[in-house]
């Protein structure tokens, strides 16, 4: 075995969503040291934005938070936030990875997350966590349950960072003296035996497509925005009020396949796999929030392909009274000037129908963001049609490059349960490769 490179017993996981966390926990528990690289200021990913999960209607944060906390306190998981992989050299078993950590402008060792900085910060901007339905400050914590629970300054909106000498209120009010306007970030050079890529997805942006009136009519929102409206931590504290006038929503429509299975408007021919189920879930949960609410789902075909998924739809139909209409609607039109919306569609008998709604929800598909395409290029792995990681049916976590694995929505749109399965599958695949060096890098707590 002279040509075998020296293997390293640590692993890098790129992406701190539910998939990446599952892989990190499995590997760390199995005896490897894990670097968990997260692009934003806190782990949790898209699941942290959701109100409930299908098919059990469990509270999303209630399932996610224990895992986040476990990652945060695990002796063998090092979380690198605001970080991106910029270079990977070496081969399977021994990679050398460059990670660029952006400045947080807050000293994480000092910050006690008291929140006084946010309270006093004068600058408000759109909140990404709320999918632009609410506001946050220039100094903020990503969300209440964030791990690590440390504040961060957004250099794009901070008055001080944009103009030296201006503002600086947070620095004045911080009792822990944690503000660091001169933070320059760090570059980490790390040796790992394998990489697991779980960078996730972004929701399709329907603004450019024009036809659905998104960005033009305020009461046309995306499904992710509805999650925030339904969520107790959202901009309306969980009340279903429409954005144009704050009027309670009485009639709501979901339009399926927005940004999926559409070669014309977006070039995404693939099925996003989760929209059918999340639309049913959102319709059911909306009806729970607003007794007497009328909810209709306009679909091409309902794809409820998972354990207990179909029963979930049948229950939504028969017990919850969600209406299913088989037609993809061509567009959304305004109805006079009061904010109501009109849909013109064809029913199953081939007759033209028109209906008015208080709110129209676009069931947006899952797409691979540009920064993930860049990551694939850095890693030198192949993407398939639709820009998802190319993997094989019989080695679902393996990418085109040995030693680099992919899982979660990065290798194709999928539900949370399936993501968790894939996260574990990737951990198992890594484990098989690095078995000979298991335990080499992990830390052990020594008790006296």
């Amino acid at each position: 075995m002279l040509n075998e490179p020296i293997k390293v017993g640590s692993v890098m996981i790129v992406g701190g969503g539910i998939t990446g966390m599952q892989a990190a926990l499995d590997l760390a528990d199995a005896g490897y040291f894990v670097y968990l690289v997260e692009k934003s200021g806190a782990i949790g990913g898209a699941m942290a934005q959701l109100d409930k999960t299908f098919p059990t209607n469990d509270c999303s944060m209630c399932i996610l938070a224990p895992k986040m906390v476990e990652c945060g306190r695990h002796l063998n998981i090092k979380i690198l936030t605001l970080s991106e992989v910029t270079r990977i050299i070496g081969t399977a078993g021994n990679f050398r990875v460059t990670v660029q950590e952006k400045p947080r402008y807050v000293d994480v060792d000092r910050c006690i997350a008291c929140g006084i900085c946010t309270e006093k910060c004068p600058k408000s901007v759109e909140n990404e966590y709320d999918a632009s339905t609410g506001k946050r400050k220039a100094i903020f914590v990503k969300y209440a349950q964030a791990v690590p629970l440390k504040y961060q300054i957004d250099p794009e909106s901070c008055l001080r960072l944009k103009k030296p000498g201006a503002c600086g209120i947070c620095e004045d009010v911080c009792v822990a003296q944690a503000i660091r306007f001169d933070d320059e970030g760090k570059v980490h050079e790390l040796s790992v035996g394998a990489l697991v890529l779980a960078p996730g997805f972004e929701a399709f942006d329907p603004t450019g497509a024009g036809v659905w009136g998104y960005g033009k009519f305020p009461n046309v929102i995306t499904s992710l925005q509805l999650e925030r409206f339904l969520s107790a931590t959202g901009p309306t504290d969980g009340r279903l009020l429409r954005p144009s006038d704050g009027k309670p929503v009485r009639k709501i429509a979901f339009l399926q396949c927005v940004g999926s299975r559409d070669e014309n408007r977006c070039g995404n021919g693939y099925c996003s796999s989760v929209c059918c189920m999340y639309a049913i879930k959102e319709a059911v949960v909306s009806k729970q929030h607003v007794p007497g609410l009328s909810a209709a789902i306009y679909y091409m075909d309902m794809r409820t392909h998972g354990k207990d998924f179909d029963a979930y739809m049948e229950k939504a139909k028969s017990e919850d009274g969600v209406r299913f209409v088989r037609c993809r609607v061509h567009g959304v039109e305004p109805y006079s000037r009061n904010g109501d919306l009109r849909l013109h569609y064809i029913n199953e008998e081939g007759r033209q129908m028109e209906e008015l709604f208080d709110m129209v929800v676009l069931s947006v598909g899952l797409t691979t963001p540009d920064h993930v395409k860049d990551l694939a290029e850095v890693a030198g792995i192949q993407l398939s049609v639709g820009n998802f990681a190319s993997t094989s049916d019989f080695a679902p976590a393996n990418t085109s490059k040995e030693g680099i694995f992919a899982c979660g929505a990065f290798s194709g749109p999928k539900s949370i349960p399936q993501c968790v399965v894939e996260g574990s599958a990737a951990a198992a695949a890594v484990s098989a490769k690095l078995a000979s060096v298991r335990g080499d890098m992990n830390k052990v707590r020594n008790f006296p």
């Binding site: 024009g210 036809v211 396949c257 299975r261 559409d262 070669e263 014309n264 408007r265 091409m300 088989r326 037609c327 993809r328 609607v329 061509h330 567009g331 039109e333 305004p334 006079s336 013109h344 569609y345 064809i346 081939g350 007759r351 033209q352």
Partner: protein
């Protein structure tokens, strides 16, 4: 299918003298009759027969032409395979895989179509039937003729199925004597006499000259209608509807040209600015009519062709030039009415008084200048039309939806001339509602069909309290003439 030729060309082709060809025509050996522009017309079959008699291969062939060898091989295939009614591969409808088998049957097309469900018309069903090879039923149905070819269905189809092409193909496959209304008759009249309505050359010239005198007296001193003016900068084609029924409407353009001191001309022959071959699915006729415009450009040595203004004709002419006369586009430039009017406005060649149109004014996007042009030529005139409106009006409002997703007026695809008035009016209800909701008092159209549908039908049918004008009429009415 008509074949248009010149005596000299035919003589060259058969290697005989021009006089021989003339003698053949006179003796009836060659069954051709005289058409406009010193050209002759004959049935394609007769031309084929003539070629066969002299052992020659026809040097042109229409799209629908199938040569004997292919027919024989197809017949052979048919005898080997059992002929079934469903099974598209052998059907004419199946020759373009861009539609049909990619269909998701999602219904987006039908949901976008204002006459879906009327008499069983449903674009989704039609695509399905085409896929299944039910061409006989489709060709026999009136659906393709009730469709206004507005392409709103195609514009939203997630599978990019060419629904409009399919509709036109269905139209082209119907026997010519069964083409509804005067569409095919108009095509034939145009081929034989130079314009759809058969207006004689002398009458046309006299009318144009008379109108020119009137205009000179009314508002444009010294105006003379420039007929056959060699070396003029711009050639203008005329929609035969205007000299036939609304001659005064011609003066709007003339007034604008006068104010802009433009050098322009109208041909005394083959001046037709309408091309109904687009509607009837007759490519050969469409090509001939576009070819005549090319001939006019060459004969009169003009620099710029103002593409005929009516939406369908703009589309047909531009399409025809690209497809059949790409070389001609190297010889002269083309421009649309939007390009020309904006040039006049932006270069200060015409002065406009906005105050004459203080009412709420909306622009109607014609399908052919909008989404269809964008798809076929990569160019739309959504903003061009609005820019001109803003130069002429003080209060511009929008209809919803607009631009690429606008509703057709209901008279597209030749529907204005088709015998399906009830369907056309029903289709127009969407437009009427859009107008009402926009609260517009003046609606501007840049297409003859749209304007006629709005002004002569929808206003009465839907009790609309609006005024309708052509875009160039609006400009002419806003003109501040020098002196």
């Amino acid at each position: 299918m008509m074949y248009e030729f010149k005596v000299s060309e035919m003589a060259e082709e058969f290697g005989v003298h021009r006089n021989t060809i003339r003698n053949w025509i006179n003796a009836g050996t060659l069954a051709a009759k005289e058409g406009p522009g010193r050209k002759y017309l004959m049935k394609f079959e007769d031309y084929q027969e003539l070629c066969e008699k002299f052992g020659r291969k026809p040097h042109i062939r229409p799209n629908s032409h199938v040569d004997l060898e292919t027919v024989k091989s197809l017949e052979q295939k048919n005898s080997e395979l059992p002929v079934i009614e469903l099974g598209g591969a052998l059907q004419k409808m199946y020759d373009d895989p861009k539609w049909a088998d990619a269909c998701l049957t999602c219904g987006t097309c039908a949901s976008a179509c204002p006459i879906a469900g009327v008499d069983g018309l449903d674009p989704r069903k039609i695509v399905r039937m085409a896929f299944l090879g039910m061409q006989r039923d489709l060709i026999a149905s009136d659906w393709p003729w009730k469709c206004t070819m507005c392409a709103k269905c195609e514009n939203v189809c997630p599978a990019n199925i060419e629904i409009m092409l399919l509709m036109r193909k269905l139209r082209s496959l119907r026997p010519r004597d069964l083409v509804p209304g005067p569409i095919h008759k108009g095509v034939i009249t145009c081929l034989e006499r130079g314009n759809n309505l058969g207006i004689p050359k002398e009458d046309f010239i006299a009318l144009l000259e008379g109108l020119g005198h009137e205009l000179a007296e009314e508002s444009c001193p010294g105006f003379v209608t420039p007929i056959d003016l060699h070396g003029a900068r711009i050639l203008v084609q005329v929609n035969s509807k205007e000299p036939f029924a609304e001659p005064d409407d011609l003066k709007w353009w003339w007034k604008i040209f006068y104010a802009a001191q433009e050098s322009w001309t109208i041909s005394s022959e083959n001046w037709e600015g309408v091309n109904w071959g687009l509607f009837s699915g007759d490519d050969e006729s469409m090509k001939t009519v576009v070819g005549r415009i090319v001939d006019n450009m060459r004969r009169l040595n003009c620099e710029v062709l103002l593409l005929p203004e009516s939406g369908h004709s703009y589309y047909a002419t531009r399409y025809g030039l690209n497809r059949w006369y790409p070389d001609a586009l190297k010889e002269f430039k083309i421009c649309t009415l939007f390009d020309l009017l904006l040039k006049y406005i932006n270069e200060g060649r015409i002065q406009l008084d906005k105050r004459r149109h203080p009412q709420k004014t909306a622009y109607h996007d014609p399908c052919n200048y909008g989404r269809k042009s964008l798809k076929a030529f990569g160019k739309d005139y959504f903003e061009g039309g609005r820019e001109i409106l803003r130069a002429c009006c003080t209060d511009v409002v929008e209809m919803e939806p607009n631009r690429q997703t606008n509703y057709c007026c209901g008279a597209g695809g030749g529907a204005w001339a088709m015998p399906f008035a009830a369907e056309r009016i029903y289709f127009g209800r969407m437009k009427a509602r859009q107008i009402n909701e926009s609260e517009a008092e003046l609606v501007i159209a840049s297409c003859h069909g749209c304007r006629d549908q709005l002004k002569k039908s929808l206003i009465q049918e839907y009790n609309l309290d609006i005024e309708v004008k052509y875009l160039w009429e609006l400009v002419a009415d806003s003109l501040v003439l020098p002196g």
